[in-house]
């Protein structure tokens, strides 16, 4: 039985009125289960941060609702059980990292003991006495994560936590997020880094234009494995593949034919090609990356390798 810790129902946020009204979030219904790492994906301006702000009670929805840990979003008892880093770290520039965390700990009603532990966890213990304004972007980001971790919250909401981090810092952050999930904490992660999300998230929600396009496990979203065939002549290879797997299951990409068939049918496909006198140069099992799926879904035109089958004469193929 999976317990829902974050649930939104038709969550909507509209800014402005009349002709100038802008729908930032459009009836988003998402669910985050206890103990999972949930990746919230979307291009810039898709509505990710606005949705997260509504989940935290910082922004009031125009319509719909959001509940966290069973309570309404923004209710103090609920918010106290969430740790969050939203759209960059906001701290007092004249205070040290440690004093900033001490200040935030006091708002939470926590003692100063949690501060050093949080600094240690994000590898900032050695620079905790330095002023926040002297920190690099990556250090500021890590301090924001440290503030989110204080008091061991049940749910951690991280909006682009790897912004500004160097590759080593990003790897550390990934490790930290995985550790949090292993410790039973639920992580709701918004990120542009699709490889990162693919690596650490259990489920993802993809949002574009304010609408949640899909919510699924990463593996289900990527779909099954596909065969990548490089054979000549290409048009005949395409026709044979279509005959075996159906038109819908075949795609032309970078001079190869991609066929959606299970790997156990590899021999059958190759045999058909050879039998019909084609030269088979390469056969590999190909998996779609989350990035490819994301670009297809969000229609951002960043999937240039995919070739529409209409571009070659299907009639000739048939």
């Amino acid at each position: 039985m999976d317990e829902l810790v974050v649930q939104t129902k038709d969550l909507t946020k509209k800014y402005g009125n009349g002709d100038s009204a802008r729908l930032a979030v459009d009836r988003v219904s998402m669910t985050v289960r206890r103990g999972e790492v949930y990746g919230f994906l979307g291009p810039n301006g898709a509505g990710k941060t606005t949705t997260l702000r509504m989940v935290l009670g910082l922004v009031r929805p125009t319509a719909g609702s959001a509940t966290v840990l069973g309570g309404p979003a923004g209710e103090p008892g609920t918010t106290a059980r969430i740790g969050a880093l939203i759209e960059g770290p906001g701290f007092f520039p004249y205070l040290s990292g440690r004093d900033n965390l001490r200040t935030m700990a006091r708002y939470r009603g926590l003692t100063d003991e949690v501060v050093d532990a949080a600094l240690e966890r994000v590898d900032l213990a050695g620079r905790g006495g330095d002023r926040f304004k002297s920190y690099s972007l990556g250090m500021k980001q890590r301090l924001g994560v440290a503030a989110a971790l204080m008091g061991d919250p049940d749910v951690i909401v991280l909006d682009e936590p790897t912004n500004g981090l160097d590759p080593a810092g990003m790897a550390d952050m990934r490790g930290l997020i995985v550790d949090l999930a292993r410790g039973g904490q639920t992580v709701l992660l918004s990120s542009h880094l699709l490889a990162e999300v693919e690596e650490i998230c259990d489920r993802v929600g993809v949002i574009a234009g304010g609408k949640l396009l899909v919510e699924s496990t990463v593996s289900a979203l990527r779909g099954g494995r596909r065969l990548r065939l490089r054979a000549t002549p290409l048009d005949r290879a395409l026709a044979i593949a279509m005959r075996l797997a159906g038109e819908e299951a075949v795609q032309l990409e970078r001079g190869s034919v991609l066929v959606d068939v299970p790997p156990e049918r590899t021999a059958e496909v190759v045999r058909a090609l050879v039998t019909e006198g084609l030269d088979v140069h390469e056969v590999t099992v190909s998996e779609r990356t989350l990035e490819e799926v994301f670009f297809e879904m969000t229609d951002t035109g960043r999937h240039p390798q995919a070739v529409d089958l209409d571009e070659i004469s299907l009639e000739a193929v048939r």
Binding site: M1, D2, E3, L4, V5, Q7, T31, R33, R34, R53, L56, G57, L58, V59, R60, T67, L69, G70, G71, E75, P76, G77, T78, T79, A80, R81, I82, G83, A84, I86, E87, G88, P89, G90, F91, F92, P93, Y94, L95, D99, R102, T103, M104, R106, Y107, R108, G109, G144, A147, A148, V157
Partner: protein, 302 residues
């Protein structure tokens, strides 16, 4: 088949964090960040310096030089000396507060509220668990404690200056009556608190310090004076000026210490009666936080 999904039981406020405790947490947090903020110390320092210079140093220099200038306003040397001795503390303490002290407190309130929006710290604070109401109450409490501290520092500073003058001129170091001092301190606190709360509201409205400080200073130092000038020829404008914060605070102090002479201390007025001025200032002290609270509760934090 999909797994069964359940929502957890609704949470309640964690034990041990009732609203009063949450306000105390917020007050402690705000005091921690305010007492280490150089801008607060610069503002307090500016006020204490200005108060010392205009309240004592220039008067004493004038007394010693024996010349007539802006500072003695036609007073005799004996009167001038009496006005800067410890016994005159209840009169001298609040004189500069309606205008200059008020303007500086408005700046203080505006930066306390406004900078949190520019730095994004209100957003961080509100994701830590406290409600908007307890966060605001904590911040206003911390601001009030700082204003109270400023009043105490002003009393101490004024007393030390007056004592130095008394010792230098071999005059009486007797303290004023406790009741008079308490009344003066109470009025000083009310006036400074009102302006600090006005600045806090402006900082919240503008979601930043720059515009709120600019508007606040222009209002306190220029516009109210212009309106009072226009009020001399337009009765409805005059009626309007009677409910303005500058008129109320100026009248409160003016009625307490006396406006005195043809060229009174800037900001001191006798427009309103003591009671009406007191009621108006108290009304501002109550209404300004309420308007701020209404605004903070209904607006998105972006």
């Amino acid at each position: 088949m999909s797994a069964t999904l359940t929502s957890p039981a609704p949470t309640t406020r964690p034990a041990g964090t009732p609203v009063t405790t949450a306000v105390l947490h917020s007050t402690r947090a705000d005091l921690l960040r305010l007492r280490t903020w150089p801008a607060v110390w610069v503002t307090v320092g500016a006020w204490l310096t200005m108060n010392a210079m205009f309240g004592y140093v220039f008067n004493y220099v004038t007394y010693n030089s024996g010349e007539n200038n802006f500072s003695n306003q036609g007073q005799s040397r004996a009167d001038l000396l009496a006005s800067i001795l410890p016994a005159a503390l209840p009169d001298s303490l609040p004189q500069g507060m309606p205008m200059f002290g008020g303007a500086i407190m408005m700046v203080l309130g505006a930066i306390i509220a406004g900078n949190g929006y520019g730095w994004g710290t209100w957003k961080t604070v509100l994701t830590q668990g406290p409600s908007r109401t307890s966060t605001l109450l904590g911040s206003l409490s911390a601001t009030t404690l700082i204003v109270a501290g400023i009043v105490v520092a002003t009393v101490v500073s004024d007393y030390l200056m007056a004592l130095a003058v008394a010792l230098a001129e071999s005059q009486s170091t007797a303290l004023p009556a406790l009741g008079d001092t308490a009344q003066s301190v109470g009025v000083a606190f009310l006036v400074l608190e009102m302006w600090a709360l006005a600045g806090y509201l402006l900082g919240t409205v503008a979601r930043g310090p720059a515009v709120s400080v600019g508007l606040g200073l222009v209002w306190a130092l220029v516009i109210e004076n212009l309106l009072r000038g226009v009020g001399g020829s337009l009765s409805w404008v005059e009626s309007f000026t009677h409910v303005l914060p500058g008129t109320a605070s100026g009248s409160l102090v003016g009625q307490l210490v006396g406006v005195g002479g043809p060229d009174p201390t800037p900001g001191l007025l006798d427009t309103l009666s003591l009671d009406r001025a007191l009621v108006t200032v108290c009304a501002y002290v109550l209404v300004l936080p309420l308007v701020t609270w209404w605004l903070v509760r209904r607006r998105d934090v972006v």
